[in-house]
């Protein structure tokens, strides 16, 4: 063994001792920043992230200083915002898909800063990705919708045709169909994450087409308000929207980011942060549900509760074969479940039985 190698090992161990020492005594709070796509008052997606931030702040107290910035459009402006945050923070969370390339670009320029990008797929040494298995939530509300619809038409307000949204539509449809073979799903694309006006228009259009249960993959409470007015049913999205639809909201899919945020920021504090890929669901507690509305029949409630328990034990998968694609070609064989990649993460087809046209 050469002397050089030995001395470099020695240096390394000295260095790591020093590092461990400094990270232990360092009293400086971790500076964490969050980029939001909508306003925190959307009571949906961004609201849920902000609740997570509050949870993490409460948990970590003086160990963390939080900065949040709302209404950052998914365009070249976001790169400037992310850069500004990277200059002043230890870890930056970018909470929408459209921030992916800007996040990665900035991360390359700021190798000492940690980045966490929600719902994307590009990992780097200092960029983690995290997302929730929202389609597990869709499975539960799909079962409820299939039981509760009288017109057999479920209305679905969708944002952009990206894999995450497609997964939700397919999962909800399959679950609804499993309890109600006659059910149909009608999809309206609003090409926005947050646009209360368009979301309300879409809700009305779907009701005009016969829908009596609404689902949404957009961020505002507009559809819930419409559902309440029209006396039909809907589901809270990303957070509990009970306040806007005391009668309409059957339950809601709640995104619970708090524990994840607290863990990741604590990891930066403790010097244990490393790049990771998280795709968590009901089992890990990242997807939760709002209380079931009392206006639901007990059997429906029980069926939904059973689905939640099964999901939380990992006993069922919303996509379990046999499932064909919309064009009739086979996707999953009897009993087969899809891998995350490529099937779930790149999903760009409807399953068989959906008669809406795939957006192209």
């Amino acid at each position: 063994m050469s002397k050089g190698r030995f001395s470099s090992i020695l240096k390394l161990s000295v260095l790591s001792t020093v590092l461990a020492f400094t990270s232990n005594v360092s009293a400086d709070p971790v500076k964490a920043a969050f980029v939001y796509i909508g306003p925190t008052g959307d009571h949906g997606w961004t609201y849920a992230h902000d609740e997570g931030v509050k949870y993490a702040k409460e948990k970590l107290g003086d160990d963390v200083i939080m900065t949040t910035i709302e209404n950052v459009a998914e365009n070249s402006d976001s790169e400037r915002v992310i850069t500004s945050l990277a200059r002043k923070n230890d870890i930056v969370f970018t909470t929408s898909f459209g921030y992916m390339n800007p996040t990665v670009k900035v991360a390359k320029r700021y190798p000492d800063v940690k980045f966490e990008h929600a719902t994307g797929y590009m990992l780097e040494d200092n960029v983690s990705v995290y997302s929730a298995r929202f389609y597990e939530g869709r499975h539960v509300i799909g079962k409820i919708a299939g039981r509760m619809t009288e017109s057999n038409v479920i209305g679905y307000i969708a944002s952009f045709p990206i894999p995450e949204v497609i997964r939700g539509i397919n999962s909800a449809f399959l679950a609804a169909k499993s309890v109600n073979p006659d059910v149909q799903i009608k999809v309206v694309w609003v090409y926005s994450w947050y646009d209360p006006g368009k979301e309300a228009d879409a809700a009305n259009a779907l009701i005009a087409q016969g829908a009596d249960v609404l689902m949404q993959h957009t961020d505002s409470t507009a559809a819930m308000t419409v559902a309440e007015e029209k006396g039909i049913y809907a589901f809270g999205q990303a957070s509990n929207m009970r306040e806007w639809g005391p009668n309409a909201q059957l339950t809601g899919i709640i995104n619970d980011w708090g524990p994840y945020y607290a863990d990741r920021i604590a990891a930066v504090r403790d010097g244990t942060w490393s790049s990771s890929d998280t795709f968590a669901g009901v089992q890990q507690g990242m997807v939760k549900f709002a209380p079931m509305n009392n206006n639901m029949p007990t059997e429906v409630k029980n069926e939904a509760m059973k689905a939640i328990i099964d999901l939380s034990m990992g006993a069922i998968h919303p996509f379990t074969g046999p499932i064909n694609k919309q064009d009739g070609s086979p996707w999953l064989a009897e009993g087969e479940t899809p891998p995350n990649f490529p099937d779930l993460l790149t999903m760009d087809f409807y399953v068989e039985g959906i008669d809406s046209q795939y957006p192209n």
């Binding site: 920043a33 910035i69 709302e70 500004s84 990206i162 192209n360």
Partner: protein, 356 residues
Amino acid sequence: MIKLIPRVENSKAMILLSPLLALTLTALSALIIFIFILDDIKVSSVFFTLFVLPLTDSYLFPELLVKAAPLMIIGLGLSIGFRAGIWNIGAEGQYVIGGIAGGAVGLYFYNVEGFWLLPLMALAAIIGGMLYASIAAFLKIRYQVNEILVTLMLTYVAVLFLSAMLQGPLRNPAGFNFPESRIFHDSAMLPIIWGGTRLHVGFIIAIIISFVAWFGIKKHMFGMQIKISGSAPRAAKFAGFNDNKTVLYSLLISGGLAGLAGFFEASGPAGQLTPGLPQFYGFTAIIVAFLARLHPIGILFSSLLIALSYVGGEEVQIEYNLPSSITQIFQGMLLFYFLACDILIKYKVVLNKTKN
């Protein structure tokens, strides 16, 4: 009763000073708002972050110029039509089509190196924007359809067309089926003129266009023609100016420039085509044009001012946790005071004591 009576003579000095006056009033109003919502100590630092930091910080200043470039280019094009009374409200749509056209050329020649690629992309973008605006010109000339409605409606069509392209032919084949194009290769990206920043050659071109437009309006016959068509349409007719030509050229120029701005955005700071390409530059440029009273050199400054409100607005949000609406409030107040000043320069306020 309050009445507005036209002044016989407008003060030249006031016409020049009113933008500064409007800016001062905006700053004062902002100050009052801040005093109400902030602790005393913070007011001055928020003010500094909002108005001064973007001009002095070595990272934010080039960003300010990046943000101003598309506003400047689109505002210049719009100002020409506005002078002639041609209201192209849908520059946003032409901007999107320009971005798609330029981007599509770049993606078609993906990984092909060559100095000719950028000019070709720019040409495609300009032609794309022109063709898109010419729909409104055609409908106006042939059927007297109002260009405000046509250009505005076509904006929504353009945005949907972008979505369709990103779901289909322009989608990144290795992009997990997300509606985004590939990231452009180096030959399809605008050269950076300030190392380590995002400031690209488009900013220089924007300034060149300002001076060309200034010269053109002052010296060229077409400049005279649009001016007279706008202010005295009948006189323009007697002078033998062709109305249809004014309509066509105004829309082609504003459409072409908006298209160019779309390409600069796609090949500059964005570096790819995404659904985030449209970002209201086409609409914000209307404010930019009017703040400058449609003067090309004025647009140079007003675009910087509006860009300042964006960049400074983001910084105060980050630094002091103020709501994002601070930028819109600032822009709204600026335009309000500016228009109010202009009214008061042109009209006298008279208190009419007699009651009806």
